[in-house]
């Protein structure tokens, strides 16, 4: 991907739409000569270097594991269940306490607070209470004077189990004789969409296609293992562990430990990737508990790769029964969808993932009659939770694949079928929300244009090779949505040394949040980026900015920074007006100078103005809060006039070559197009697109957590296969910029959509190459071979989760 290829403005599209769009209401345009119009002159829209880049390339950046060897007094380690499902009869710690260097062993009885964790549903005991529900459930904590002592102590802790039947699959869980894993049984209250009359529309449809899809369990596989330190000084518990939402980690930790939240501080160290995998708590409570028991001591803790993979939640494996009805001309009339999601042992963010799956069930398709039932099913597999794409990703696999099937059935060109059914400005999505600005078709056309314009001569194929290409089009509602309170706060100030400080509670884990905040603040206040310092995700120094998830930080925290920086800018201009004896509206800040908008002779340095401000007692600080409302989806129908604050659109194109003898898939060409509203930092946007598409390629082709009888078989990077240099083609990026009226400088966001669009594009390409549509991910060589030889592949019957079963808890 070359930078020069990015940042393509879709001016033609915008102009064309402005002329024809019936719904979009243009804001009153200002007279062209106004000097106040906001168009970026500074860092916004530029591919500035990362503000945290220097320390990252020097190796001086401190991640969780880098904090502790010099500073730790004690090391903690967790004893984890060896059984996927068992009654906990007793934990015998005497032998462990005799191990040299072991200081203490703690179990649930020693936990001072609620002993509960879970981001939305707090149903997961931090330390097991009488029952373990997955292999990896925490049973006890051992504290030792060294890491080795703690590890040896863990090995010496004797845990007595009474094995219980393992609920290994969703089918097992739904069997009436299955043990109940939670009080309310194995089915978690789901989510439904009722829009129009899908049954009747399907009866009346000219064509009906049905398919069942099964997605896999995926691990986040961030490289920076969970690690950190904690101290309790008798009044404040300070925990330095990477997460994705420092202020929520503070609340959850305080609850679990029975402390008032004021007595817990979370300081987020440099964070090496997250992708949703740090949304649930990891070490925070274990470390906090050990620290509380040993006042004044610094406690350190670090997972191994195996512990990280065994302990952490995963992406939901989801089974989707999808039926689509259409007229002969290709117009889709109805969708009936039943979704079963393997929640694993605990719910955590599961309910939110299910809601997102339901609200994105038909993606950017215009479907007047929709019927969706979504269920979560508890098993003894790893708990599941947030991962990039968050429910919307699995649904995109289904609706994109259904479009290929429908096109095949109708004998239509898939692109033509998409064109006929994509929503346009003002159309409704699954939830009934009308979307003002829809650029789904624009993304598809731009991706197709890129693909065709640079049409290369494809190398000739060998006899055992087949070539195919596939298209995906997706939409994504950003933010938590569905009425869930969602707010970001930011503070921007000039420090006494004249440097600007931007403080937000958002976590930077590589995605570029720091540059986004710094570039917006610098742009607003007319200072170069080199003069900006950033403070982030430290509950002692920043206010809450929500989680770094749901593709929400650019829109939410970006807006909070914009508001804060505007306030600061006005304060500075106010002082400058006094200094220069003019009304502030006559002044502007450019390149750290105050300049006259109308009178070039008016001028002062920013430093002089800041000094004057301090003399006059001005605070030189701005605060911003951005807290837009969404409307809760109706319980019975899943409909809402404003379920999400805004929507993102994207389209990907993949061209693959399949080796029909080995089932291997090689991606030959790849085009990704996303409408981001405004790329605050185009290089960072392209980085998210390429990185997200690569994770999507991994999910489409190779990544899979293999569980057998509740035991993860591949908790390491030797057996859990990740994309490497060789697996990723050149990903050609097309960035569309159609301003979002509510976004900072028109920006929407980018984090999750590239992954969501990538998986179905690759699957579609494989389908076109081999002449049979994939229905199971990942599409590894074995599954491709099964597609080519269906007679030799036993197709799973999915007995327990056929749609007929769907009435069970209603």
């Amino acid at each position: 991907m070359r930078n020069s290829e990015c940042g393509i403005r879709n001016a033609q599209h915008r102009a064309a739409r402005a002329a024809t769009a019936p719904v979009r209401t243009e804001p009153l345009s200002e007279p062209s000569h106004t000097p106040y119009k906001e168009s970026p002159r500074g860092p916004v829209g530029r591919s500035e270097r990362r503000v945290d880049g220097r320390e990252k390339v020097l190796g001086t950046c401190l991640y969780g594991a880098d904090l502790f060897y010099q500073r730790a007094d004690y090391f903690a380690q967790v004893v984890r269940s060896e059984m996927p499902h068992a009654r906990l009869l007793g934990v015998e710690s005497e032998a462990a306490l005799r191990v040299p260097g072991v200081v203490a062993v703690y179990t649930a009885h020693d936990m001072p607070g609620t002993n509960r964790q879970g981001l939305i549903h707090r149903d997961h005991p931090v330390l097991a209470e009488g029952l373990v529900r997955y292999r990896g459930d925490a049973v006890a904590i051992v504290v030792g004077q060294s890491q080795a002592a703690a590890r040896n102590g863990c090995n010496a802790v004797q845990v007595a189990y009474e094995a219980l039947p393992v609920v290994a699959t969703m089918d097992d869980a739904l069997d009436e004789s299955a043990p109940k894993l939670h009080r309310d049984g194995n089915v978690m209250g789901g989510k439904r969409i009722r829009k129009g009359d899908a049954d009747r529309a399907l009866e009346e449809a000219d064509v009906v296609v049905s398919e069942t899809f099964q997605t896999q369990t995926v691990d986040h596989a961030f490289l920076d293992l969970e690690a950190g330190i904690a101290q309790w000084d008798g009044g404040v518990l300070t925990i330095q562990v990477s997460g994705q939402w420092a202020h929520e980690e503070r609340r959850l930790t305080a609850l679990a430990l029975g402390l008032p939240i004021e007595q817990v501080q979370i300081v987020t160290p440099a964070t090496g990737g997250a992708f949703g995998g740090r949304e649930d708590l990891s070490l925070q409570v274990y470390l906090g508990m050990a620290a509380l028991k040993h006042p004044g001591k610094t406690i350190a803790m670090q997972y191994s790769r195996e512990e990280s993979m065994r302990a952490r939640h995963k992406r939901h494996a989801i089974r989707i029964h999808y039926t689509l009805g259409a007229k002969n001309d290709g117009t889709i009339t109805a969708a009936k969808i039943t979704v079963y999601s393997d929640e694993g042992a605990y719910a955590s963010t599961g309910p939110a993932v299910l809601r997102k799956a339901a609200s994105h069930a038909t993606g950017p398709l215009r479907v007047p009659n929709v019927y969706v039932d979504v269920y979560g099913v508890f098993t003894n597999n790893n708990p599941t939770g947030a991962m990039r794409g968050f429910g919307a990703c699995q649904m995109a696999i289904a609706y994109n694949s259904m479009m290929d099937r429908l096109a095949e059935r109708l004998g239509m060109d898939p692109v033509e079928l998409w064109r006929r059914n994509l929503i346009c400005d003002g159309d409704e999505v699954t939830t009934g929300q009308r979307i003002g600005i829809v650029t789904a078709t624009a993304c598809m056309d731009a991706a197709l244009a890129k693909y065709r314009d640079d049409r290369r001569v494809d190398p000739p194929l060998a006899a055992h090779q087949r070539r195919g290409w596939g298209l995906s089009v997706i939409c994504f509602g950003l933010g938590y949505g569905d009425g869930f309170p969602d707010a970001s706060r930011a503070t921007v100030r000039f420090k006494s040394d004249g440097r600007m400080e931007v403080a937000t509670g958002g976590v930077e884990y590589g995605q570029g949040l720091l540059n986004m905040t710094a570039q917006i603040a610098a742009e607003k206040c007319g200072v170069p980026l080199s003069r900006v310092d950033v403070v982030w995700a430290d509950t002692r120094r920043t206010q809450e900015s929500g989680s770094s998830s749901a593709t929400r930080q650019t829109y939410f925290t970006g807006n909070a920074v914009r508001i804060a920086a505007d306030e600061l800018r006005e304060e500075v201009l106010d002082v400058a007006g006094k200094l220069l004896c003019v009304h502030p509206h006559e002044l502007d800040i450019r390149d750290a100078r105050i300049v006259g908008r109308f009178d070039p002779a008016l001028s002062a340095t920013l430093d002089d103005v800041l000094a004057e401000g301090r003399r006059r007692g001005h605070r030189l600080e701005g605060f911003g809060i951005f807290k837009p409302r969404t409307v809760c989806e109706d319980f019975a129908t899943g409909q809402s006039p404003r379920s999400f604050i805004t929507y993102l659109f994207g389209a990907h194109l993949a061209q693959v070559v399949v080796d029909v003898e080995t089932g291997e898939v090689r991606i030959e060409r790849y085009v990704a197009c996303h409408d981001v509203g405004k790329a605050i930092n185009p290089q960072s946007v392209a980085g998210q697109m390429v990185g997200g598409a690569t994770q999507g390629i991994g999910m489409a082709l190779m990544e899979e957590v293999v569980n057998e009888d509740g035991v993860m078989k591949n908790p390491n990077f030797t057996d859990y296969i990740l994309p490497t240099f060789r697996d990723v083609p050149e990903i050609e990026c097309v960035i569309l910029e159609n301003d979002d009226p509510g976004g900072p400088f028109g920006a929407r966001g980018i984090g999750e959509p590239p992954l969501i669009a990538a998986v179905p594009a690759v699957l579609s390409a494989i389908g076109s190459a081999v002449g049979a549509q994939p229905h199971t991910t990942p599409c590894n060589p074995q599954r491709v071979w099964e597609l080519l030889h269906p007679e030799q592949a036993a197709r799973p019957a999915h007995p327990a989760t056929t749609p007929a079963h769907a009435g069970m808890n209603r």
């Binding site: 270097r49 190796g59 594991a65 590589g510 997200g692 030797t718």
Partner: protein, 160 residues
């Protein structure tokens, strides 16, 4: 389990400076660098030689420091990410990584830069095959590799 108390007197060179100290005999080079002498730039991740986050250069060769033990380092010349910059002046790879946006979360970055340095020291103008052979031992979960390839190619153009 009894602690292994056996230590070893390790004499080697790290980033140009002599090192002479007692280390546990079963300590990996990675742990020695990070715990023993506080050079935390080299990162541990998979801890079994799959991801390359711990890559350092030993006598000109890229090595997974999580897989070698201290006694194997006797008399060897070790270079880590901390040894690349010259005062305030960054190494050319560090510059090109910044320009290309090749560091996102940054956790794999030290290992990637060391692997790339070993590759370009050996083969300043690598073919695609040589490039893959030099770099495929390093995993990046964030970038999708494009920006890293761009950074290494840009560095190759300036390599001396």
């Amino acid at each position: 389990m009894a602690q292994l108390e056996t230590t070893w007197r390790l004499q080697c060179t790290v980033n140009g400076g002599p090192v002479d100290c007692e280390v546990p005999q079963d300590q990996t080079l990675l742990d020695f660098l990070r715990i023993g002498i506080g050079l935390t730039g080299s990162k541990g991740s998979c801890l079994e030689g799959e991801c390359g986050s711990c890559t350092v250069i030993v006598d000109g060769q890229a090595v997974n420091s999580c897989l070698v033990l201290c006694p194997q380092m006797q008399g060897r010349r070790i270079t880590t990410i901390e040894g690349l910059a010259c005062g305030e002046k960054l190494h050319v790879l560090q510059e090109t990584f910044l320009d290309a946006g090749a560091a996102q979360c940054g956790y794999c970055t030290p290992g990637l830069i060391m692997a790339a340095k070993a590759l370009l020291d050996e083969t300043p103008n690598p073919t695609e095959q040589e490039f893959f052979e030099g770099m495929e031992g390093n995993i990046c979960r964030c970038t999708g590799y494009a920006s890293i390839c761009e950074a290494i190619r840009a560095a190759a153009r300036q390599w001396q």
